[in-house]
């Protein structure tokens, strides 16, 4: 006769949480933070093809840590949802909050209903017209969602990384300072004997949502542009489409929106900032 073992719901949830936490903690970390010119994503990633940071929509991006196949599935779902909403309504009707809620529902359902939870932690970020208006959502494996204050870290030893970020992060940082702070924070953990590590540019995945662009604002910063940023020389906001073999198109200029038949009203207008003139424009050569 088969024995039925009883496990209390609390025990089951605890076990699943533990499994997910362990899986996430094994991976390398990722950092998202707001700076003066947009939202910056920096992830430790040995692969240049399998991304942890990706574009979802015009002003929304996605960063994740944990199991690649699981968060890649979530990323595709997000792109599909965003494109469906954008097609059936308008591009402006796609919001980070709606996506964060959908992710929370999905992850929550998977956590309670499936035998194994997703071992992922994700960030949905929407760039606003000012750093204060940026929205950063952290969604964890159990479907809980948090609105983060301008910066967040995910993955292994996230608390230590967050601590390093919190001390120095300011919303009016330049891109240079923001990238160097993020890399320093990522390197503050995992070194031998607690010493800071140096992380090479080839092990970093860096991308931004550029506040001053209209249309699609997501840009990756790779290759020479990234090295320049890390070394501290002033770099450009639309810096590194770099890698020449990269099939991604060059960035459309700020005066050239990724326009569509459906949103012709965006054309020829200043992007809808409350802030009037766009900053000091020092990292935007024209």
């Amino acid at each position: 006769m088969a024995m039925q073992f009883y496990a209390s719901p609390e025990q089951i949830m605890r076990d699943r949480s533990e499994l997910a936490r362990k899986g996430i903690a094994r991976g390398r970390s990722a950092v998202t933070l707001s700076y003066e010119g947009g939202v910056l994503f920096v992830a430790e990633n040995l692969s240049s093809a399998l991304h942890k940071v990706s574009e979802i929509y015009d002003r929304i991006a996605f960063a994740a840590v944990g199991r690649y196949n699981e968060f890649e599935n979530l990323r595709r779902a997000g792109v599909r949802m965003a494109d469906t909403i954008g097609l059936s309504f308008d591009r402006r009707d796609v919001t980070g909050r709606a996506l964060a809620n959908a992710y929370a529902q999905t992850l929550g359902a998977i956590f309670t209903e499936q035998s194994k939870p997703f071992e992922v932690e994700i960030c949905v970020a929407e760039v606003g017209s000012t750093p204060e208006a940026d929205e950063l959502y952290r969604i964890t494996y159990d479907g809980s969602v948090n609105d983060e204050p301008g910066r967040m870290a995910m993955g292994g030893q996230a608390e230590a990384v967050t601590g390093a970020l919190r001390e120095e992060h300011r919303l009016d940082m330049s891109l240079n300072d923001a990238v160097r702070l993020a890399v320093r924070a990522l390197g503050s953990v995992g070194g031998e004997g607690g010493a800071p590590r140096t992380i090479a540019a080839s092990q970093l995945e860096v991308a931004i949502l550029d506040r001053r662009r209209v249309g699609r604002t997501f840009r990756r910063i790779t290759g020479a542009a990234l090295v320049t940023l890390l070394n501290g020389a002033p770099a450009t906001a639309d810096g590194g489409e770099a890698a020449p073999a990269d099939p991604k198109p060059p960035a459309p200029g700020p005066d050239k929106p990724a326009e569509s038949a459906g949103s012709a009203d965006l054309e020829g207008k200043e992007k809808p900032t409350g802030g009037g003139k766009s900053g000091n424009g020092k990292d935007k050569p024209k």
Binding site: V79, D83, P249, P250
Partner: protein, 266 residues
């Protein structure tokens, strides 16, 4: 429904998740609907030394009436390609939007752009899906042109594809036109086109061809100097797509009109 493994094609995703959002899938009542909806007409495209130029007039017609003086029929499909349309304006605009999302969606999912031929094939599939509506008078014919990033010779990177109601695509050499005025526009292009045109020359020739189309076709509008409505001219080159600013389009159109004051035949 968003989590299925599926393909990288947005239209294929929609066909299972939300088929009502796809044009061409809706049941139509019997009878011809051709007189009910506005029509858009003439688009021309020609290759240049560094890409392609596409231009379209601004007139929409409904039977013998002008339904719109400033309809826009030439749109960027993505960073490197352009799409213009002739036929039923409502369906065409919806199709252009869907096509733009299709290309962007693939790029976001796969992290790389579709090839130019891949884009043309997707557009052909969309047009073929509209065949039922086309047979009831709601036809849409696009013209697709773009800069081929895979081309080895930059002088051959600008490519043009045409379509018919049953799909396509048919690659055109040098230049092409669609819409009711295309007969006249293509005749003008035939005489003026040569390989290796500069962008400025090609823009002038495109606007002249539209002028010739408007001269002989009532459904094609010429430059409207009194209302300052000029043809939409777009280019696709290695730097991406660009719409000629209104001031420059106005300058070209006014120069063409001024030249026709001297010699109406061009």
């Amino acid at each position: 429904m968003f989590l299925n493994v599926g393909t990288s094609s947005f239209t294929q995703f929609l066909s299972t998740a939300a088929p009502d959002l796809l044009p061409g899938r809706r049941p139509l009542p019997p009878g011809s609907a051709s007189a009910l909806a506005p029509h858009a007409t003439t688009i021309v495209a020609l290759t240049t030394a560094d890409g392609v130029v596409m231009a379209g007039d601004r007139r929409g017609t409904m039977g013998n009436l002008i339904s719109s003086r400033d309809i826009r029929k030439v749109h960027p499909a993505d960073e490197y390609s352009l799409v213009g349309f002739a036929g039923t304006a409502g369906i065409a605009l919806e199709m252009v939007r869907l096509f733009q999302v299709e290309l962007e969606h693939y790029e976001k999912i796969e992290g790389a752009m579709l090839s130019l031929d891949g884009k043309a094939n997707r557009l052909a599939a969309m047009i073929r899906g509209n065949l039922g509506a086309a047979m009831q008078g709601l036809a849409v014919i696009p013209l697709f042109a773009g800069f081929d990033l895979a081309a080895t010779d930059p002088a051959r990177a600008g490519r043009i594809f045409s379509f018919d109601v049953a799909g396509g695509p048919y690659e055109e050499t040098g230049y092409d036109g669609i819409g009711s005025g295309s007969l006249f526009a293509k005749a003008a292009l035939k005489k003026r086109y040569r390989p290796g045109l500069s962008a400025d020359e090609a823009i002038r020739i495109a606007v002249e061809a539209l002028y010739d189309a408007a001269d002989d076709d009532s459904a094609t509008g010429g430059p409207d100097l009194s209302r300052r409505i000029y043809p939409v001219v777009m280019t696709a080159t290695a730097e991406g797509t660009n719409r000629l600013p209104d001031a420059e389009a106005a300058a070209v159109a006014e120069a063409v009109v001024a030249a026709r004051m001297e010699n109406p035949g061009g």
